[in-house]
């Protein structure tokens, strides 16, 4: 059902809601297109005219700095006009519903929505509501999905490790609340990574997590053994109800990434983190600032990957395809 919204009848990507349902070729097309946008970001004039005259609305019902900023820069580098709306300080506070907000923005001839929302499924709800000529990219919905983060993470992995078919990737920390982990696990499985591991206390692992296609570890040292890529997740205290961890100090002792624990991974392992980082909670500063951390390259790559997704979903959106009044 989601795929009816993600793809048109010709199999072209029209909305990006989740990684599930994408095939390997679609993902590789996005990564390869992003590769070309990296070069654009290094030029004197960091702009191409692809989305000239298009209006992009960044609609973030949940706070974000990195994701919103990189989506904004991505849209601007594609020459689109971009508007940022932070409904927590506008009309939803006055009681307007999500779909009413969307209808109003659509009436202003928005061509592409980038939506983040605290509820899982919000992006799907909005995409289903929009007329077919208006496109949507999910920038994170609840615990469900964060597809562009997973794509930029796999782009970064490919940049440093080249071949997905030989890798051991360990995702560490708050898997339970993490849409990043869920989307990343899907993308790595589709790209053919032979071993994806999750390392977390039982309280921070979803029920039946193995069914996603991962191996579970409760101990950092065994879980990190011979890993090529270590993805640290932020402990999402704002989403936690009840006592899921004994104490922050205890969590750091057991699951915080330190140079000592990192010795168990391969010597050339790279360290990733989607940000924002809690230093001294899930990651030690010596690791975060160390030479194997690729956390800032992830941010740079995020712009190119988001440009690629925007360009691909907006491609072929000629005015003759417009079907108004639906």
């Amino acid at each position: 059902m989601t795929n009816d919204l993600q793809f048109d009848s010709q199999g072209q990507l029209r909305n990006l809601l989740t990684i599930e349902g994408l095939n390997r070729q679609t993902i590789l097309d996005i990564l390869n297109t992003a590769e070309s946008f990296i070069a654009v970001g290094e030029r004197e004039i960091k702009k191409v005219p692809l989305l000239r005259g298009k209006t992009v609305v960044n609609l973030f019902f949940e706070s974000s700095t990195r994701t919103r900023t990189t989506f904004e820069i991505a849209a601007k580098r594609l020459s689109a006009d971009v508007i940022n709306i932070n409904p927590s300080v506008s009309s939803t506070n006055k009681g307007e519903t999500l779909l009413d907000t969307i209808d109003n923005l659509e009436a202003m001839h928005t061509d592409l929505f980038v939506v983040r929302h605290k509820d899982s499924g919000a992006a799907y709800l909005v995409a289903k509501h929009l007329p077919p000529h208006v496109r949507l990219i999910n920038a994170g919905d609840g615990r469900h999905a964060h597809p562009t983060q997973a794509l930029l993470d796999s782009f970064t992995i490919r940049q440093y490790k080249k071949d997905f078919s030989q890798l051991r990737v360990a995702i560490v920390g708050d898997i339970l609340h993490s849409r990043v982990a869920r989307s990343l696990i899907h993308v790595l499985n589709i790209l053919g990574v032979p071993e994806v591991r999750v390392i977390a206390p039982k309280t921070l692992l979803p029920v039946d997590v193995e069914k996603l296609g991962v191996r579970c570890f409760y101990d950092m040292r065994t879980g990190l053994e011979d890993a090529d890529v270590v993805v640290m997740l932020r402990l999402q205290r704002e989403r936690m109800q009840g006592a899921l961890i004994p104490s922050e100090q205890e969590y750091f002792n057991l699951y915080g990434l330190t140079l000592e624990k990192l010795k168990h991974a391969k010597d050339d392992a790279i360290i990733m983190h989607p940000g924002p980082m809690n230093r001294g909670l899930e990651i030690d500063s010596a690791v975060a600032d160390g030479e194997r951390a690729v956390i800032l390259p992830q941010v740079t790559n995020g712009i190119a990957v988001r440009m690629a997704v925007m360009a691909i979903v907006m491609g072929g959106s000629a005015p003759k395809d417009r079907r108004p009044g639906q």
Binding site: E35, V48, L50
Partner: protein, 178 residues
């Protein structure tokens, strides 16, 4: 349905055509030009011309996918390649190379892209094949071979071997419809 018409295309000797282009480009060497080939056919032609002319400056390549004027109709080419201009284009003489000059739209897009890298002193256009059907006021300065084709016909440069040599390239005429 696409059928291939070999006759006219087979009559063109690519080696000979390149030699003719080199002769015409030779006087421009004094200005230390930067040669830039448009992906993918134009990049092959540029690479061969660059070798034959023994140009000092490294060869550049341009992928104009992000500058096409039909993006809203056809979308992004999934085989998009990276543009690579290794030398600053400011105040330089550019020799822009393509395989086939047809409507002129590719060249317009290429010039837009070059100007996003800087402000060249001048741009010379060299094409292996020049055909009829221009839709923009664009002309080539150096032409390997001029051909006249039916509006439904397309002439295309293809590479048959891994290694790039004049012998690895072949021109084919494709007919749409019928």
């Amino acid at each position: 349905m696409i059928t291939q018409e070999p006759n006219l295309a087979e009559q063109i000797d690519i080696q000979e055509t390149l030699t003719r282009m080199v002769k015409a480009l030779e006087p421009l060497k004094a200005s230390r030009p930067l040669m830039i080939g448009i992906q993918t056919g134009g990049a092959w032609v540029a690479q061969l011309l660059h070798q034959m002319l023994k140009l000092e400056e490294p060869l550049g390549t341009l992928d104009i996918s992000f500058y096409r004027d039909d993006f809203t109709r056809i979308g992004v080419n999934p085989q998009v390649k990276t543009s690579d201009l290794p030398v600053d284009v400011d105040n330089r003489h550019i020799i822009l190379v393509d395989d086939v000059l047809h409507t002129g739209r590719t060249i317009r897009a290429a010039m837009n892209e070059i100007f996003d890298y800087g402000r060249p002193a001048c741009v010379t256009l060299a094409t292996l094949i020049e055909r009829d059907g221009r839709e923009l006021p664009i002309r080539a300065d150096v032409v390997g071979q001029s051909v006249r084709l039916n509006t439904k016909e397309h002439i295309k440069l293809i590479k048959n071997q891994e290694d790039l040599t004049p012998g690895s390239l072949e021109l084919v005429i494709q007919k749409a419809g019928e």
